[in-house]
């Protein structure tokens, strides 16, 4: 039988503690020195995504800072608060870019950025995060297929309510070979975002 003296236990304990302190210190130092670069990277990515929807010359405000927190809404597909980015030119509203969610993707939620001009027309839509099938539903990504651009310029009246579906359901938007569920989810999420905008446009640009 092995016996361990109290002294050995104490030494081991202190040793382990020292290592925990050293490890935590190193991680903290790294976090501290990389924090600014990481925040800047995230900001650049956000700006890149936002400017992909809105040409730079259409706005003159700092769109990444001109934000408003929206409460959870079934039309946006959100169950927690989400952020809307507001684009203005000389102080006048130009467009709003929503973080909306298509909750009914083939494998879970599809996170979207939906840009809406103040005229109610779509500036554009991009998928920012999803877990759809590679090679099939994945085509909602701009890197894989131009499909997502078919929303550009559309509005609640163009096409009308029956057109806001995939072709298989009698609407205007293409589905993909072998994948209908993903585009169906995106189409309905985009339409819901437009509805949300229509109902809340005054509140969004009030401040």
């Amino acid at each position: 039988m092995i016996t361990i003296s109290r002294r050995q236990i104490l030494i081991s304990g202190i040793f382990l503690w020292l290592f925990a302190v050293a490890g935590t210190t190193l991680v903290t130092l790294t976090e501290y020195s990389s924090r600014e670069a990481i925040i800047e990277n995230e900001r650049q990515l956000l700006l890149r995504n936002l400017y992909a929807l809105l040409p730079r010359d259409k706005l003159d405000n700092d769109i990444a800072e001109d934000i408003l927190e929206l409460p959870a809404s079934p039309l946006l597909g959100t169950d927690t608060a989400s952020i809307v980015y507001r684009a203005r030119l000389a102080g006048e509203p130009v467009a709003a870019i929503f973080n909306s969610i298509a909750p009914n993707g083939y494998s879970g939620k599809i996170h979207l950025l939906v840009g809406v001009y103040d005229t109610g027309k779509l500036a554009g839509v991009r998928v920012v995060k999803h877990a759809e099938t590679p090679g099939l539903g994945e085509a909602v990504e701009i890197r894989k297929s131009p499909w997502i651009k078919s929303f550009d310029g559309k509005s609640l009246t163009n096409p009308g309510p029956s057109g806001w579906q995939v072709k298989r359901d009698g609407g205007e938007f293409d589905q993909f070979t072998g994948a209908t569920i993903t585009p169906r989810a995106v189409v309905s999420a985009v339409r819901n975002t437009l509805l949300y905008y229509q109902q809340n446009v005054d509140m969004i640009f009030k401040q």
Partner: protein
Amino acid sequence: MTTSREISRDGLWGNNVALVQLLGLCPLLAVTSTVVNGIGLGIATLITLVLSNTIVSLIRGFVRKEVRLPVFVLIIASVVTIIELSMQALFYDLYLVLGIFIPLIVTNCAIIGRAEGFASRNPVGPAALDGLMMGLGFLVVLALLGALREIIGFGTLFANAELMFGDGAQTLTIEFNKDYPGFLLAVLPPGAFFGLAVLIVAKNWLDLRPREKQEIIEPAPETA
């Protein structure tokens, strides 16, 4: 005493992490849908292995037996977190692709396996070399499996290379056939298992062939 030659042979071939020890399969199977992803995870694992082996070897004289495993886990977890943060600061686009897999490196048993099995019993030099060679062996398998799945699944090679090597690398991408319809099975998880199986078969086949030759034709004296 193991020579550096033996260490290199072991890591790259004889005791290859992925093909012989079959360790770290979770990240291996998850990320290898393209070569670039495979290489990215391979490099991250390689750096982790070298650093963790070096540190473990440096402290091997002080660590008491009872607490060595928690200490190793602490070291590996710290190293991985530091790599993750640095990658987020320096190679953000790559981080966006590999981000969710980096924490998985902690669960790669190969790393604690080398710490416990080799680094804690050997001097710093051999320990670091072992980390490097084991890491390289793993990296090569990740890249090969990625290449296999990417060619069969997408009909391309080195797609998205610019994520890792900068914009100039866009020209690296090879597209074999514009109209290739793609073969989904190779991209989905089953394709990873099939691909790995093919690689293991190929390795065993290569291992068995020359030995037969040597034994039959020339029972030559062993070379060092």
